[in-house]
């Protein structure tokens, strides 16, 4: 292999090594340590000045205590399960909202499509935090939605939406919608229009043509969109802590509290390592989906 090519390949690997693998190994190391009142707040610390002896002593002090603790305290596995449930349901809801929008854009006249796509991406121009905060202004008991419903006489008492799991669903669906729409749109957009016509020509109604041809062919886009929503939603911290209140149990929130409220870095790191372990499976499935799609596209 010539050196130029080697350099080219090396760059992304060095990037991953420095910014993913090394930090992960540090987190893994912290998760095997014990908490301590110190800076940083854990022991043991690697002391290279004592040579080989220091290294062996360091490794001897690492243990799986934190993982045992996580398994024994039901708060943690309940949080994991709750996160999985919330992430799955919100992914499904995002799909139900996102697919019709993506389909609508793909069916729109060609000159409208860039504008419509722009509108989908436009919210990214505002800070994510501000957008989540503004939802509080809409759905809180004194918020715009309740005010409008009360003044129109539809309800007498404000509906409690803030600080419920529903508010978290709303927040996740709203925030991650573009990640669902874009891959589905791209799958629908490159589809040959004559495929629908061929299906109709062979005896399908429009609806049958959709279920038998368009939906199966947009499956790679659907799968990609679902993973792009599910993976970040699983570890989501901002939305449940701002909109979900204290009742919503999500692992991202637990992680944050361990780190900043308890200053228990080792347990927090163990929580993060397990979260990554849970995500490995969907990420691998996502990879396989992408690869298979590339094969059929060829």
């Amino acid at each position: 292999m010539n050196p130029r090519r080697l350099t080219l390949i090396l760059v992304p690997y060095l990037w991953l090594l420095a910014l993913f693998l090394v930090p992960f190994l540090i987190v893994l190391k912290i998760s095997l340590s014990d908490t301590a009142i110190a800076i940083p707040p854990y022991i043991p610390k690697l002391d290279l000045s004592t040579g080989w002896h220091g290294i062996t002593a360091f490794f001897a002090d690492l243990d799986f205590e934190n993982f045992v603790f996580l398994a024994e305290d039901d708060l943690y596995w309940k949080s994991y399960l709750s996160s999985l449930r919330i992430a799955s349901i919100s992914t499904l809801l995002t799909l139900l909202v996102g697919y019709p929008i993506a389909y609508g854009i793909a069916q729109a006249p060609e000159e409208w499509r860039p504008t419509l796509l722009m509108l989908v991406i436009l919210p990214f121009w505002t800070s994510f935090l501000i957008r989540v905060y503004s939802w509080i202004g809409i759905i809180s008991n004194e918020g715009l939605l309740n005010q409008a419903l009360i003044s129109s006489g539809l309800i007498a008492e404000p509906i409690q939406i803030m600080n419920t799991t529903q508010a978290v669903y709303l927040g996740i669906v709203y925030t991650y919608l573009p990640f669902m729409i874009l891959p589905i749109y791209s799958a629908l957009d490159k589809m040959d229009v004559s495929l629908t016509e061929a299906a109709i020509d062979l005896g399908c109604s429009r609806r049958q043509a959709f279920w038998l041809v368009i939906l199966p062919l947009s499956r790679p886009g659907v799968i990609a969109g679902c993973f792009l929503v599910f993976i970040p939603a699983l570890g989501e911290f901002v939305i449940p802590s701002l909109l979900g209140g204290s009742d919503t149990l999500m692992i991202g929130k637990v992680l944050w509290e361990e780190f900043f409220s308890n200053r228990d870095w080792p347990v927090a790191s163990a929580v993060a390592v397990i979260l990554l372990g849970i995500l490995v499976l969907p990420i691998m499935l996502f990879q396989r989906n992408q690869e298979r799609q590339q094969e059929t596209d060829r």
Binding site: E197, A198, L202, G203
Partner: protein, 379 residues
């Protein structure tokens, strides 16, 4: 070779008692201000292999899409098998279409692609299996039944598309540029295959093409279209030998067009003056022409003889100089500049080997043709 008896000739269009399978009745199609099809009347008969031929944008594809039901006429009626197609959606027409892009369903195997239409019909499993296998055999795809469309070659995909559109045994099959994506050699083989399948199944085929050679090869009749109108509808031989307009003559095959004015002569003959001080071209015609009328004389290159000496047995003979020779192996086309300045092409079979060729560049030659070699056109 024995000449076929007249009663065996397939020419339902010539029989006034015959009922057409398809009838276009004053059909107009507008897209906004653009008139794609303009007040068109046309009958197509059962078992015909009918070609719609024309440049892109002439309305041929729109005409086909109206038959399939994907477009509705702005005015007029389309009848298929005696039934008015107004308001009948594509999935309820006795018509199937083979798409230019083939539109094979990429997520289904070859077998399932062919079975797709039969499933929608609710055909029972055993009959369906028999039918699909029959279509696989017809299109020589038995070995590929389990493959997905992206795992087979372009020619095989083309055959799957054909098999799929024929599986439901439609009264009418529409083919939109069916061979456009194939290379030349494969296209020629496939043309004969198409004709063979059309004959075996007895289906009426309507084919849209911009390739005049393809239309000539496969079709029983050809309709030449231009700007949403039919310019001429006739058998390939008739279109070639007796085009009605300069447009048709020019569109089908190569032709020399020489413009001139008419001097009537005896019998069904005219003299056409095309250049000062040159003897006029004498041509046979049925048309009644007035003296001094502007006409175009059209003559095909292969009808013109190239010779060293003046060929006295032919009525028309002109002198010129060879400007260019296009050698095509079996034939050569000579571009000859006449003394009058006209450039005329003439085609000769290469009976001798190349090194013993009779003529070469800059040679003075005589071009000659008979009275009936060309035709006189007024449009």
């Amino acid at each position: 070779m024995a000449q076929p008896q007249p009663q065996n000739v397939f020419a339902p269009w010539a029989d006034p008692a015959e009922k057409p399978l398809i009838r276009f009745e004053g059909v107009t199609k507008r897209f906004g201000d653009f008139v794609a099809v303009d007040d068109l009347n046309l009958d197509i008969y059962e078992r015909e292999f009918f070609a719609l031929l024309g440049p892109s944008g002439c309305g041929k594809t729109t005409l086909m899409r109206m038959l399939a039901g994907f477009e509705n006429p702005s005015e007029g009626n389309i009848w298929i098998g005696g039934q008015n197609m107004k308001g009948i959606p594509p999935n309820r027409r006795p018509v199937n279409m083979m798409f230019q892009s083939y539109a094979l369903f990429p997520h289904l195997t070859v077998w399932d692609n062919i079975a797709f239409g039969l499933r929608r019909e609710g055909m029972d499993k055993d009959r369906m299996r028999v039918r699909v296998d029959e279509m696989l055999r017809l299109s020589r795809l038995e070995k590929f039944a389990g493959r997905k469309p992206h795992q087979i070659s372009g020619g095989q995909r083309q055959r799957v598309a054909l098999a799929r559109s024929l599986a439901k045994a439609p009264k009418l099959l529409l083919l939109d540029e069916p061979l456009g994506a194939l290379d030349k050699k494969l296209r020629q083989d496939t043309q004969f295959e198409l004709m063979d399948i059309q004959e075996k199944t007895g289906t009426t085929f309507v084919i849209v093409t911009h390739d005049q050679e393809e239309a000539m090869t496969v079709a029983s009749r050809v309709a030449v279209m231009d700007h949403g109108k039919l310019v001429q509808v006739a058998t390939p031989a008739h279109i070639y030998e007796a085009p009605e307009t300069v447009y048709v003559a020019d569109f089908i095959g190569d032709v020399n067009i020489i413009e001139g004015t008419v001097i009537p002569a005896q019998g069904n003959r005219v003299d056409i003056t095309y250049a000062e001080g040159k003897p006029p071209i004498r041509a046979a015609t049925d048309k009644t022409l007035v003296p001094g009328q502007r006409v175009s004389f059209a003559v095909r290159p292969e009808k013109i003889l190239v010779s060293r000496e003046m060929a006295t047995e032919r009525t028309n003979a002109v002198k010129g100089r060879i400007e260019d020779i296009a050698y095509l192996g079996n034939i050569s086309t000579y571009h000859v500049r006449l003394d009058s300045g006209h450039l005329v092409s003439a085609q000769m079979t290469n009976r001798n080997r190349l090194e013993r060729r009779e003529f070469t560049w800059e040679d003075e030659v005589w071009l000659s043709w008979t009275e009936t070699a060309g035709i006189v056109l007024t449009e």
